[in-house]
């Protein structure tokens, strides 16, 4: 095997490795329930995405793509996970404060305490609703606030759904692969699979932070499709999109804090002020 062929093989193998990590982190997000674990997985996924861009930059010896890879690494592996972690810490410290103020000691993290309690506000007539919620909130241990306690779809079913969505992604991405078949474009369905998993997360998780993670998964997936099919969108567009994403996550982080302040939690089931009739 000559030198170039060896390089080519090495390139394809490392690219496939990066794509594999990229997809696995998305599946991992469905599997884990601790919100902090989701943020860690997201950072790893950002690094895998940057690796994809970096490998392509080396392969095509493109400085533009190298710049993009650096931007992606800084934004998606470092900055955004840090923002999310701050949102998590803030909500956790606030709940500790509330527990403290209400006089109840922070409960021990027994496994039983982590189990989700049945909470039925509907059964309670309007005047007592707020108090009920307050009492309930102080009883929820700090750790439970940091977990996705009740996803609409359980973990096993979520993982099956991820498998189905990956198959769907391979079917849907056929035209894109057929446009210019190569080892690189053949990996593009991985990006699409992550987009679909991101939407699945958005639809089935009920914590604000999980939803932000869902939006970020969708975005990572689209970026991966762009890198693998076209070596990335043009630089000016990429920079604009990155800026939008950073601002959007900042906005969502601030809104998470406000949700916490007005609803006393980031469980999106609480959001039912607005509806028709």
């Amino acid at each position: 095997m000559n030198q170039t062929a060896l390089h080519q093989t090495l390139f394809v193998q490392s690219l496939d490795l990066a794509c594999g990590v990229f997809l696995l982190t998305a599946v991992g997000v469905l599997w884990r329930r601790e919100l902090s674990a989701l943020v860690r997985l997201l950072a790893v996924q950002g690094a895998a995405l940057a690796a994809i861009a970096g490998l392509l930059a080396v392969h095509e010896s493109s400085t533009e793509l190298a710049v993009v890879a650096a931007v992606v690494a800084g934004l998606k592996a470092v900055a955004l996970p840090r923002l999310l972690r701050r949102a998590l810490d803030r909500s956790a410290s606030e709940s500790v404060l509330r527990n403290h103020l209400s006089g109840s000691p922070a409960p021990a993290s027994t496994p039983a305490a982590l189990e989700d309690k049945p909470r039925r506000y509907e059964a309670c007539p309007p005047p007592c609703r707020r108090d009920d919620r307050l009492a309930d909130r102080t009883a929820v241990p700090q750790q439970a606030l940091r977990r996705e306690t009740r996803p609409l779809v359980n973990v096993a079913a979520s993982l099956l759904a991820a498998a189905a969505l990956t198959l769907l992604a391979y079917a849907a991405a056929r035209p894109l692969v057929a446009l210019a078949p190569s080892p690189v474009t053949r990996a593009a369905p991985v990006g699409l699979a992550v987009v679909l998993i991101g939407f699945f997360l958005l639809a089935t998780r009920r914590r604000a932070v999980s939803q932000i993670v869902g939006v970020l998964l969708v975005d990572n997936g689209i970026a991966a499709v762009a890198f693998l099919t076209t070596a990335g969108v043009p630089l000016i567009v990429e920079l604009g999109v990155s800026l939008d994403l950073l601002l959007a996550v900042l906005v969502m982080q601030v809104l998470t804090t406000r949700l916490q302040a007005v609803f006393g939690g980031t469980d999106l089931d609480e959001l039912r002020e607005l509806r028709d009739s």
């Binding site: 035209p175 809104l255 959001l271 009739s277």
Partner: protein, 491 residues
């Protein structure tokens, strides 16, 4: 050279007004600067229209471009923004006087509204599908805090849903953009230029049909989310009902149509690559779904701001019906409809804001006898409803007729019949709710007396006059509409 400077004015004027408000806070001077900026935008739009009506296009800086369609959209943005910011001067002044908002919140409001106008102008001026996407996503970001302005439970909930649904939805359009880019690169495009309108239109027939099919579907769903088309409309009633009235006016009057403008631009390319049948089917489905949803939810509506929001979904449905038809007449009618709806909805949302500050309730049943209590305000609101119902002399009458005629001529008679069946239901529902609010004796609630309820009526009257004038004579708009429709419409 001088003429391409016209393209910077719509971006620079609101940006400067935002800067002034950021530095000096919300004062009399900066509030009026906030009205001057859209007025300058409108002037620049008239200038751009004068140049582009002949079919010429202006370019600037390699990323901005204006043709007749851009000029028309700039006119819409300018006209609606003048009404909304003018009404906003009184709205914020009154909120400040009543202690319902703080100086810091007013400053933030002033900055964000101007940024909102600037990003919408950027969206229609962008020469590039990628940049258009960036500008549209930026509108979501700058409006998020406007929707959540009051920071109470309802508005924070609305802001959260708005950001998550719109960011997620519009991401789908970005995936479509990536697909278009892949097809364009395959057809010989390079770098940023591969996403330019001129390149895409020239090479549309070389774009891979299978990829374009995927791309067009994703783009219609993605930008359709932002345009409030059913079934992706879930964020719209919440956001429109919670945002401050002038912001609702801008969101309903222009933001939805700017998102629809993106669909129109992409439709030209997709139709050249795929034939007209594909986008027609997608848009027809969205049109009928939107009309049906609006009809169903308007009948039992109890909140008048939500009522106006559902009426926006209805009108975007009609716009989608016209776009699905795709003939030149249909597109001209669609554009006229966008302008008429923008003006009418701006008047109505700003009027609803006044009603809310006079009565302190947004429930339809709680607002009664408005005509005897506050005749000027009630007249403006009532006339706005008449405009929205598509009655003459307002321009929505002419444009709805145009859309129906064009669609029937294109063999879509069944769709017209279904659509106008829903419109009839909506007509009855709106008329009944309107009558509840306007007619009858004074309501039982003791209205918190406002210093002068007739204040702030002027912008509403101007908006109504413009909408009525458009219905009677098109005047110099006619050639511009024709030129813009030629760019999108099938011959």
């Amino acid at each position: 050279m001088m003429t391409s400077l016209l393209l910077y004015v719509p971006l620079a004027a609101p940006a400067l007004a935002a800067l002034a408000t950021a530095v000096a806070g919300w004062r009399r001077a900066t509030a009026w600067a906030g009205v001057t900026a859209p007025a300058l935008l409108l002037t620049a739009a008239v200038g751009t229209a004068a140049v582009t009506t002949s079919g010429r296009a202006l370019t600037a800086g390699g990323l901005l471009r204006a043709d007749a369609l851009t000029a028309f959209m700039l006119l819409v943005i300018g006209a609606v923004a003048v009404v909304a910011t003018w009404a906003g001067v009184h709205h914020v002044g009154e909120e400040l006087a009543a202690g319902r908002t703080t100086a810091a919140a007013a400053r933030r409001y002033g900055v964000l509204v101007q940024a909102f106008v600037a990003t919408m102008a950027l969206a229609v001026l962008a020469d590039n599908l990628g940049l258009l996407w960036v500008a549209l996503e930026a509108t979501t970001i700058v409006t998020a805090f406007l929707v959540g302005h009051r920071r109470d439970r309802a508005s924070v909930e609305a802001a959260w849903k708005y950001v998550v649904l719109c960011s997620g939805g519009i991401a789908v359009a970005f995936l479509g953009t990536v697909c278009v880019y892949a097809a364009a690169r395959h057809a010989g495009g390079h770098g940023t230029a591969a996403l330019d309108w001129t390149f895409l239109i020239q090479h549309a027939h070389q774009l891979d049909p299978a990829v374009m099919r995927l791309a067009a579907g994703l783009i219609v769903v993605g930008f359709g989310t932002k345009a409030g088309l059913a079934p992706m409309h879930a964020w719209l009633p919440d956001a429109h009902s919670q945002a401050p009235a002038p912001v609702s006016a801008l969101m309903s009057g222009v933001l939805l149509s700017v998102a629809f403008y993106a669909i129109l631009r992409c439709k030209v390319i997709a139709d050249a690559a795929l034939g007209a049948g594909y986008t027609r089917a997608l848009l027809l489905a969205a049109a009928l779904a939107s009309l049906a949803i609006a009809a169903l939810l308007l009948i039992s509506q109890r909140d008048y701001k939500r009522m106006l929001a559902y009426s926006s979904i209805e009108h975007m449905g009609l716009v989608a019906l016209g776009a699905a038809t795709g003939s030149r007449l249909a597109i001209a009618a669609v554009l006229l409809h966008i302008l008429g709806h923008g003006l009418g909805k701006a008047v109505l949302f700003c009027g609803a804001g006044r009603i809310l500050s006079v009565t302190r309730t947004s429930r339809i049943a709680a607002v009664r006898g408005l005509l005897t209590e506050h005749p000027a305000l009630a007249a403006a609101f009532g006339l706005g409803l008449v405009a929205l119902l598509g009655l003459p002399p307002f321009s929505l009458f002419a444009s709805e007729l145009g859309i129906a005629r064009a669609a029937t001529a294109a063999g879509l008679g069944w769709a017209v019949a279904a659509a106008f069946g829903f419109v009839l239901v909506i007509f009855a529902a709106l008329a009944r709710h309107g009558a509840t609010m306007l007619l009858g004796g004074p309501a039982a609630h003791t209205a918190a007396t406002v210093a002068d309820p007739a204040r702030g009526i002027a912008p509403l009257a101007v908006g109504l006059l413009a909408c009525a004038a458009l219905g009677l004579v098109l005047g110099p708009l006619q050639p511009l509409l024709h030129a813009a429709a030629t760019l999108v419409g099938a011959p």
